[in-house]
Subunit: 227 residues, 2 copies
């Protein structure tokens, strides 16, 4: 009890954000029968530099062997543990439109660590419908789904107009982590962790870089019109 088996707490955010990428690369190596890997190889496969990879891993502990590399299975386990994936987290998806259905049947959940426990929708017309082995439930089923003191992740896949309302309901039910796919910014109280995935944001960032590459387009010369 007094022995701290885990490495130093406080893994930098930037490192946490890259760990899933390492995990995926290790998974591919496992399925290829690779038993050991160097930081150089793993880094290339994950799309980062080897120095960055080694620095990242150093925050979890010392799991490599100098002169040799990393044991694929052991490193996979250690990263999983650091991320908290040694057991499944329950996930609730709200909004069963095109996007919600795509998410529900997405391979992403097949990855060890998550289990979709409920699909919710406001529309009585789709409630009751079956997707895979889950029935779509109405919104008021939410309170019974989230047990106090037990973690739960909510995924918002509704139209933008309903996103804030759904977020409020999730928070009220006790969900403390939210992944928002709706095309709008939502406000959550302090203490609730929120991440956003947004197509148009990503496209706009790409557009910026395309613009820099290809130079300004003709239309851009009507600058000053709004003066």
């Amino acid at each position: 009890m007094s022995v701290d088996q885990t490495a130093k707490r406080d893994i930098p955010d930037a490192t946490v954000a890259r760990l899933p990428g390492y995990l995926r690369a290790l998974g591919q190596m496992t399925s290829q029968g690779v038993l050991s890997v160097s930081s150089e190889e793993l880094a290339h496969s994950a799309g980062v530099t080897s120095a960055k990879l080694r620095k990242d891993l150093s925050h979890l502990g010392s799991y490599g062997v100098r002169g040799v590399g990393y044991d694929v299975a052991h490193l996979n386990y250690q990263i999983s543990r650091a991320l908290g994936l040694t057991h499944d987290w329950p996930v609730i998806i709200v909004g069963m439109g095109n996007l919600g259905r795509a998410l529900a049947s997405y391979g992403g959940f097949a990855t060890k660590g998550f289990k979709v426990v409920a699909l919710l929708d406001r529309d009585p017309l789709v409630v009751g419908e079956r997707l895979d082995d889950l029935a779509i439930q109405p919104m008021d089923a939410l309170d019974a789904l989230v047990r106090p003191g037990e973690a739960c992740i909510g995924v918002i896949a509704t139209p933008a107009g309903s996103a804030q309302e759904v977020a409020d309901l999730l928070v009220a039910a006790g969900v403390s982590s939210i992944l928002n796919f709706a095309a709008t910014a939502i406000q959550v109280p302090e203490g609730v962790h929120m991440r956003k995935v947004d197509l148009s944001t990503e496209l706009q960032i790409l557009a910026f870089h395309e613009q820099q590459r290809f130079g300004a387009s003709p239309e851009d010369f009507l600058e000053g019109a709004a003066r």
Copy 2:
């Protein structure tokens, strides 16, 4: 011609990544009839601090009025211009499964700045099918779609197993920006801009924070098993 109308080049990456958020907040204000906004209000609505917002905007130019705030319409225009959204960028979506269809009909493209010009799929069974007002085309239509010297954004919405192959085809056709929704890391040559959106990565990052909040779970005590 010798007059540089645009502000200093080189907007920091971190700033570029936030500009879409400001744009969205400004759009909401426009639709609410708000004409002027302070950095404090806009920052809150976008979920950042006012100092960060002002610093970000300072990289585009000086578009506010001291003692007053920002003109919503003008700031909206200036950010759009900085991001290169004064004209529409053509987008090609590859992979017409659940996810591809969701993306094709997603509101994200409705945002000024993008136009889906083609839907592609490898499967002959879905080729020819109509979605909205576009017919799904076979993969070999790609070369005719991308004009040399003209920018084009490719979206990969295929299963993980096909993602690298599709990326190679897109690059070969001349696409220089790729948004990857497939659950795998893909390699692209230097000079091609690639961004990744991945459900399981986002969930795993949330899981890490949930774990920190709720503490270690019982299973975590079998540490050392892999020694």
